[in-house]
């Protein structure tokens, strides 16, 4: 893999991060409505609003406000929460690991479920198994993850009493409890993601299995196992990995809702609470964190793609 390619992807990531800070800044500052007034609510006197505006620097020119904000963000100063009397960085630090773990479990689960089913579906095309698999994909795509989570909760926690209803335990405190709290959220979050992976992998594998090079491998007498898992899979995985990367965004959108459903103290829940209470520094901080994680995940996926497919890196 070329150093040039790596540099290109890194540069792209930096551009995206820069662009996203502009978007985050504009969302809060340009949209009609006065953040200071919105924060204080109807009770805020004009004097109080003016004081807050001065405190937040809202009277300075926009570009100056932006530079100050970005400059501070680069040094880790994301401001203070208006509501929780803690620094935003502190709040994020406490929660980001939880969200990352939840997303990671959902991702692993989704891949483990999706790959075998899509291989089965692609190699036994138009059999009952294939049709059932494709129906499951459609339902998985259409089902709201929070509702699926609620149903899982109803069945496994409320009715059967196998798992805790909600809440969160850190893996450092009790690993077993941690997992028993994370199972249902991860399944709920991973289901739609798994459906997307299945759809992509099945279609790309069907396509790959019709390629000339698969016939060449068979003409060489290679065992069907090797043909499928090495010669076909390596090619079929290229679109799959791409989708896994792009849809990490979907995973993070889902995490926001799932964390609220299962009362998991992650950045999704933090963000919703911040939006509800118009705690703008926290809203900005969570948006920034999510974009950073998403961009970094995509960088990893790009590099993984280049490792799988030598053509990408050398173009």
């Amino acid at each position: 893999m070329g150093v040039l390619y790596l540099a290109k992807r890194l540069g792209w990531m930096l551009f995206i991060l820069f662009g996203s800070t502009v978007v985050i800044f504009l969302v809060i500052h340009v949209i009609p409505g006065d953040p200071a007034r919105a924060m204080l609510g109807p009770q805020g006197t004009p004097e109080a609003v003016e004081t807050l505006r001065r405190e937040l620097g809202l009277n300075d020119p926009l570009w100056q406000q932006y530079l100050i904000w970005v400059g501070r963000a680069l040094t880790g100063n994301l401001g203070h929460s208006i509501l929780l009397s803690k620094s935003v960085l502190e709040l994020l630090g406490e929660r980001v690991t939880t969200t990352l773990l939840l997303s990671l479990y959902a991702l692993i689960l989704a891949v483990l479920i999706a790959l075998p089913i899509s291989v089965m579906s692609a190699t036994r095309r138009n059999t009952i198994g294939d049709h059932v698999g494709r129906l499951v994909v459609l339902i998985g795509l259409a089902m709201p993850s929070f509702w699926f989570g609620l149903m899982l909760m109803l069945l496994f926690s409320v009715r059967l009493g196998w798992l805790p209803v909600f809440g969160y335990v850190s893996p450092l405190d009790d690993l077993g409890q941690h997992f028993s709290h994370m199972v249902l959220p991860a399944v709920a979050l991973g289901s739609g993601y798994a459906a997307m992976i299945m759809e992509t992998t099945r279609n790309s594998l069907v396509d790959v299995l019709n390629q000339d090079y698969i016939r060449t491998a068979r003409a060489g007498g290679l065992a069907e196992r090797l043909v499928l898992w090495k010669y076909a899979m390596r090619n079929a995985l290229i679109p799959t990995v791409t989708v896994i990367g792009i849809q990490i965004g979907y995973l993070m959108s889902g995490a926001i809702v799932i964390e609220n459903l299962f009362a998991i103290p992650g950045i999704g829940r933090l963000m919703v609470n911040a939006v509800l209470s118009r705690d703008y520094p926290v809203v900005q901080g969570t948006m920034l964190t999510v974009v950073f994680v998403f961009a970094f995940a995509n960088l990893c996926v790009d590099l993984l793609c280049a490792a799988i497919d030598p053509r990408t890196a050398r173009e």
């Binding site: 390629q211 000339d212 090079y213 016939r215 060449t216 491998a217 068979r218 003409a219 060489g220 007498g221 290679l222 065992a223 090797l226 090495k230 010669y231 390596r234 090619n235 290229i238 799988i308 497919d309 030598p310 053509r311 050398r314």
Partner: protein, 347 residues
């Protein structure tokens, strides 16, 4: 100049009898290959010629055991070194593919896996059929690449297909095909996708492999020029049937089937001076409900009433030649007139 006997009367290496390949479709079963007889003797180069859709490639796949669903062999026998291939278990058949018989494909770009170095792809084939150590496999790969005329085999073995030219890739595919010392190589349009100069080099390579390594070659092509250049005997296929079988010389001198003659008329070098090239009107029919008629009748300039009423008989001429036509004996059909193309074929 050819010392290899033309007839394959004694125990052919490959013998195909009455082969039929069926492809079920919504409108009924398609007879893609219908009653093909074909033999290849040891050390022989045999050609199969026909337009696309004539069933020549499916015949090759049937021999290799590469037919993919829904296509199936519905009738006939394929014997290789006297052994009935259809009686073999899938595992034994797999062990034979790539070692005793192997295949070279038309599109050297798409026929190689884009995400593995070419050396890896050759290695997997050798590893499948031998117990050589990785070290000796490595040596064998370099030797093979050298043998097929690749300079700098070390570098090429580590390269990915997209880094190599079309001619190089075809040499790689040939190296892969001969890696485990096959006695039969089937080459399906091996030069169609290549430049003319590269074409000549690849054909020369194939000729050398037959001469030096004792390989038999079944060459599938739509191009009479290539067949004329290389083959001793030729099968002409049309709509799933062999319509004519002859030595290359007989075929170009005195074709017995109107289709053969028409194909020869389509060759750029076939006609004198400024005479326009012929074309055969219409397309190869797909045969779903075989009726008793000559399948070429609707495109044939010599067709008579009986051609659309009965199946034509196979008439033989001399030791080798036969044709599937009512009028094979009575007609004197134009063959190939330009001598340059047939150099090295005619005595």
């Amino acid at each position: 100049m050819r010392l290899i006997p033309i007839s394959a009367a004694t125990d052919p290496l490959l013998e195909v009898r009455d082969l039929q390949v069926r492809i079920p479709t919504r409108r009924g079963d398609l007879l893609a290959v219908d009653g093909v007889d074909l033999t290849v003797g040891a050390g022989e180069i045999v050609g199969v010629v026909g337009e696309s859709g004539s069933g020549k490639t499916l015949t090759a796949y049937a021999i290799m055991g590469l037919l993919s669903a829904p296509a199936v062999i519905s009738r006939g026998v394929i014997r290789f070194r006297g052994q009935d291939l259809q009686a073999l278990a899938a595992e034994e058949r797999g062990r034979m593919r790539g070692s005793a018989m192997s295949m070279v494909f038309q599109e050297p770009l798409t026929a190689l896996n884009p995400v593995f170095p070419v050396g890896t792809q050759i290695r997997d084939v050798i590893r499948r059929h031998t117990n050589l150590s990785d070290r000796s496999i490595r040596g064998r790969i370099l030797e093979l690449l050298d043998h097929v005329g690749i300079a700098g085999p070390e570098r090429v073995a580590a390269a990915y297909p997209f880094e190599l030219s079309g001619g190089m890739r075809q040499r790689i595919l040939i190296a892969m095909a001969i890696a485990c010392g096959p006695s039969l190589v089937i080459a399906d349009e091996p030069t169609t996708a290549l430049d003319t100069t590269i074409q000549a080099q690849i054909l020369e390579l194939l000729r050398r492999l037959v001469r030096d390594d004792g390989i038999s070659l079944l060459l599938i092509s739509h191009d009479f020029g290539i067949v004329a250049d290389l083959c001793q005997r030729v099968y002409v296929m049309y709509a799933g049937q062999v319509v004519e079988h002859a030595t290359a010389g007989q075929l170009f001198d005195r074709p017995r089937h109107p289709y053969t003659s028409a194909l020869l008329g389509c060759m750029p070098a076939a006609r004198d001076g400024d005479a326009p090239l012929d074309t055969i009107e219409g397309t190869v029919p797909t045969v779903i409900d075989p009726k008793a008629l000559c399948r070429f009748a609707d495109r044939c300039g010599y067709a008579q009433a009986r051609c659309t009423e009965q199946s034509p008989p196979r008439q033989t001429f001399g030791v080798v030649q036969d044709a599937l036509c009512f009028r094979a004996a009575e007609l004197t059909l134009p063959g190939l007139v330009t001598p340059s193309l047939t150099d090295g074929v005619l005595p």
